[in-house]
Subunit: 250 residues, 2 copies
C-alpha cells in the first residue's frame, strides 16, 4: 500500500535549528525498513547540496539524492522536456541548475530572486515568454517576513510576467500537485503509493491528498490544536510526531 | 455647449517630429476664440516642462499650464488629497512631482520607471501599500516597443503590487475616465462641457465619451480608414484634421 515516504523538513525533521525529538531515529527506522524516502521543502534560497549538509549537521544520515526541493522539481521538468533554463533565481541556487543545456527550447525559471528581479532580467524573461518559453515557478506566495519586514516573494513577479506575456505559470512547489508527483516519481513511486508526512495541514497534507497521495499530519512544527478538524475523517492520518508514525508504518 | 477643448498631442498636433499640417493655425484659432484648452498625452518619460519646450520647437505658442499629462493628473490627485508621493517613476519626470509634501498620508505613484523598478524600490512601495497607501498609476499597458525590442511597461508592475498587497490601483492615464475628468477640471470645465479631440478611436474618442465628455475623431496620426465605424452615429464627430475641426467649432 505504501511504497515510498515524503517527509517535510521544516517542522517534521527540524525545528528552531535542531532535530525534532525522535525524528533522527525515525528516519533511520524508515530507511532500515526499506522504504525509499525523500526529505522535501519548498525553499528557494538553499541549493540541495547545502540543505543536505544542514541536515547532516543536525545528525541525519542522508545523501544528496534523498533531498528533493521545489527547484529540483523544476530541474526534473527541464530534463524531461530538454529545455534550457533562463534563470531568475537566488545565486545560492545556481548549483541546482548546473549543466542543463536543453535542445528543445527555453523555459523561464522563477524562484525567489529578490535583488535579482531587475528590470533587465525581467525583460529578458518576458522576451523569452513572448517567443514561446514556458514559465516555471517555485511558488506564487505574495510575501514573506524577514528581519521584521514584509518582503515581496516570487508570486508578484509571476503575476507580472503572466500579465505581460499573456501566459500562465506552472507552479512546481508545495502545495502544487506537480511538486508532490515529481517527488514521488523521483523515488520511482506512483502518487497513490506514496505517503506525505507534514506539519502544515494545508500545504502538506491537504495538498498531497489533492495530488492523489496518501498523507499524514504530525503534531510538531507549525501544527496547531484543531488542525486535524480540516482533514477527512480517518484516525490513521494524524500522529503525534514522526517517531510515532514510523512505529505505525505498515 | 462646448466650453473647453482637449487636444491629443501625438497624431493630432505632432506627427513624425513635425507639426501636423494646419494644426499650428488651428490651435491659435481655438485659443483666439476664447476656448480654454489643454494639450494632453499619456507620456511618462517627459515632464510637462520638456513637453512644452518640444511643442514650442514645433511652432506652437503654448505655456506650460496648457499641457496636461497623465503624471499631472496624478499630481492633482495628490494635491487634492494632501498625499505625499512615493515615486516609482522615470527620473525625467521628477519635476512633475516637485514640492509635494502631503500631510494626510502616502500614495505610491507608479509610472514607467524601467530600470527604476528594482526589488528594493518595489519593496518600499509594497510596504507603503500594506500600511494603507493608495496605488496611483499612469496606465496598465503590458509592454511597448523600443529599438525593435518589446519592453515591460508599467502594467506588469501594477499587477505585481496589486497582487502582493491585495489592493487595486487607480489608473489616471488615458483611456481612464479619471484622466479625462482631471484634464477637464484643470481648465475649470465639467466633463460634458468638454470636447476631446484625438486620432485614436479607442483610447481618445471612445474613452472620452465613456467618461462623459464630447469627443471628435480626426483623420490624422494613427487614424485608419474605417475607424469611424466604431463610433456612435453622428457626422459631427469626425473631421479630416484639427484645422477642419477648428473651423466647425460652434
Amino acid at each position: 500500500m505504501i511504497k515510498g515516504v515524503l517527509l517535510d523538513i521544516a517542522g517534521v525533521l527540524e525545528q528552531d535549528g535542531a532535530a525534532v525529538p525522535g525524528s533522527l531515529e525515525a528516519v533511520a527506522q524508515i530507511k532500515a525498513r526499506g522504504y525509499p524516502l525523500r526529505l522535501i521543502t519548498n525553499t528557494s534560497r538553499r541549493c540541495r547540496a547545502v540543505l543536505c549538509e544542514d541536515l547532516r549537521r543536525l545528525g541525519y544520515v542522508v545523501k544528496e539524492s534523498d533531498v528533493f526541493t521545489a527547484p529540483m522539481a523544476i530541474r526534473r521538468r527541464l530534463e524531461q522536456q530538454q529545455l534550457e533554463p533562463l534563470l531568475l533565481i537566488d545565486p545560492a541556487l545556481t548549483a541546482d541548475f548546473a549543466g542543463l543545456t536543453g535542445s528543445r527550447g527555453v523555459a523561464v525559471v522563477l524562484c525567489d530572486a529578490a535583488d535579482g528581479f531587475t528590470y533587465a532580467a525581467l525583460n529578458r524573461a518576458f522576451q523569452a515568454l513572448l517567443e514561446g518559453a514556458e514559465l516555471l515557478a517555485v511558488g506564487d506566495n505574495r510575501y514573506y517576513r524577514a528581519n521584521a519586514q514584509f518582503m515581496l516573494d516570487a508570486g508578484p513577479f509571476v503575476r507580472a510576467l503572466e500579465y505581460a506575456a499573456g501566459c500562465k505559470a506552472e507552479i512546481l512547489g508545495k502545495p502544487a500537485a506537480g511538486f508532490f508527483c515529481a517527488a514521488a516519481a523521483d523515488m520511482g513511486c506512483q502518487p497513490e503509493q506514496t505517503l506525505m508526512v507534514g506539519d502544515d495541514v494545508n500545504a502538506d497534507v491537504l495538498g498531497a491528498l489533492e495530488a492523489g497521495l496518501q498523507a499524514c499530519l504530525v503534531r510538531t512544527g507549525k501544527y496547531r490544536p484543531g488542525d486535524e478538524q480540516q482533514l477527512p475523517d480517518s484516525p490513521a492520518m494524524v500522529h503525534d510526531d514522526l517517531a510515532q508514525l514510523a512505529e505505525n508504518l505498515p
